[in-house]
Symmetry: C2
Subunit: 260 residues, 2 copies
DNA sequence: CCCTATCGTTCAATATATTGAACGGATGGT
DNA sequence: ACCATCCGTTCAATATATTGAACGATAGGG
């Protein structure tokens, strides 16, 4: 179970906090609202321990309990997520540079940040309708398979990859998903050479995505943009042209964030 | 310090989690990124305890540490906030019913949920520009002073108010802010009679807001809308007309959520 | 240049959290 | 209607987290 090993790993501090995070992750990931006993079972927790945690989490606004006892994520993390988004100013900059400028009107453009070995979606400009940030906030996918994730991982020191995937490489989402850390390393070398990343059907077959990192005032990659098209549209000319445009757009966002 | 009493209250369980939440609240509320020693001091925690908590929170993606040691909120709560927003479907419904329909084009309309004794902003339609959800996500204000907060509190059982403000009534934001729980109760009686709430300069002088609750499929108030205008615009006729429209809009949202 | 103050970090002594066992209640099947 | 199963909850015995004292590093002021 996700996070389960993180709860129990040798030398891990503050187990109550780790368990609470695992509970929230589980509840957020569940399509059906779990009960206290159900999540205790799923996460391998004693019922009385889960009970104490859940009670505290309700008091803190982290979880909400329905009348039938089922549990849902509560409003309190909105405060932290809102601060995270406001602080980095990423979404505002995205809006100005991508969504409102109609720079890539024909394509879906998304922005993500890295969270461990996954990417989290924080902004989206959908070609078919107005800006739809909220739908995507918090959505996550394994970084190795996404264009933004590949761009962000390519910008990280090589040694970081061992730590990010020490507990196992994510299971492939399609038959094109990169299947191992060595194979991912080779892709990242290509990404650095090319200047932008490519996800060719690794998230969904037929979907072709380009990615480029956005740097902050220190130059560090803090987010990445991805542009999506269909595989049939992705001729070498189109890839080169859109890749260049995306890198320029990402550089534009970087400048707006105070980067070089 | 906010949350401080919550950490140490008699019978409080899971102190490590409460402390972690207090740390996140502090970091989210700080305009300057605090250091480990600074937040230990601010929250009355032993440095070694704060150190252990912060290290775990970094590992969990709850906090991010800059090169100079300063701390910021991390990306992980996005997952939970995103689930919370997606699950209730509130923002999507808001978008369709308010933002896209241009129902209240000349006014700012916001939507909040209750989190303890505060409201959290989850959507906003600003008269002067396109939908700007992300700017407001997580922003919070004391519920007693806001139009949405008054509407939500009016929909709660009377006895809940004692619990929500057991640890003290919030300090007024302006000279018009309601100053006590008994006075708030009287306002809520008026709110129920009128069918919508009024914030007359309690958040900011000169700002006049109307509020109405949005119910879910069970009929329970899960969010509230507020419409903002200036005090000079707020003649009795305008108040009556806009109040009615807001209640209708809120009922419309309720129907879209499966309510009566 | 030197000294003081504060930082982040470590670890064994001290303080406290966790949880197994048991309970009453609710639900569903026979 | 009754019984079995599972639920949420409680609490004292058991297991473990917390933290004071100390350290090396860093920064700023004299």
């Amino acid at each position: 179970m996700e996070g389960h090993d993180q709860i129990r790993s040798a030398g891990a501090h503050v187990p109550a906090l780790r368990r609470a995070v695992a509970i929230l992750d589980h509840v957020a990931a569940s399509s059906d609202a779990p009960t206290l006993s159900g999540l205790a079972r799923a996460l391998g927790l004693p019922k009385s321990t889960a009970h104490g945690l859940v009670q505290a989490m309700e008091e803190l606004g982290l979880l909400v309990r329905a009348a039938d006892g089922s549990l849902r994520t509560g409003p309190h993390p909105l405060r932290w997520a809102g601060d995270f988004l406001a602080r980095t100013d990423l979404v505002s900059v995205f809006r100005h540079a991508i969504a409102e400028s109609r720079r890539f009107d024909r394509f879906t453009v998304t922005m993500t940040v890295l969270d461990g070995g996954e990417v989290v979606y924080i902004a989206c400009s959908d070609a078919s309708r107005p800006l739809d940030v909220t739908f995507r906030i918090g959505m996550r996918l394994p970084a190795p398979f996404t264009a933004t994730g590949k761009a962000l991982l390519a910008a990280r020191p090589e040694r970081d990859l061992d730590g990010l995937f020490a507990q196992g490489f994510p299971a492939p989402l399609t038959r094109y998903s990169v299947a191992s850390l060595p194979a991912l390393r080779r892709e990242l070398v290509e990404t650095r050479e090319r200047g932008f990343s490519i996800d060719d059907g690794q998230i969904r077959e037929g979907l072709f995505c380009l990615g480029a990192t956005v740097g902050d005032h220190t130059g560090h990659a803090v987010a990445a943009l991805a542009l999506s098209l269909t595989r049939s549209e992705a001729t070498p000319e189109v890839i080169a042209t859109l890749g260049r445009s995306l890198v320029e757009a990402a550089a534009d966002l970087s400048r707006r964030l105070g980067g070089g």
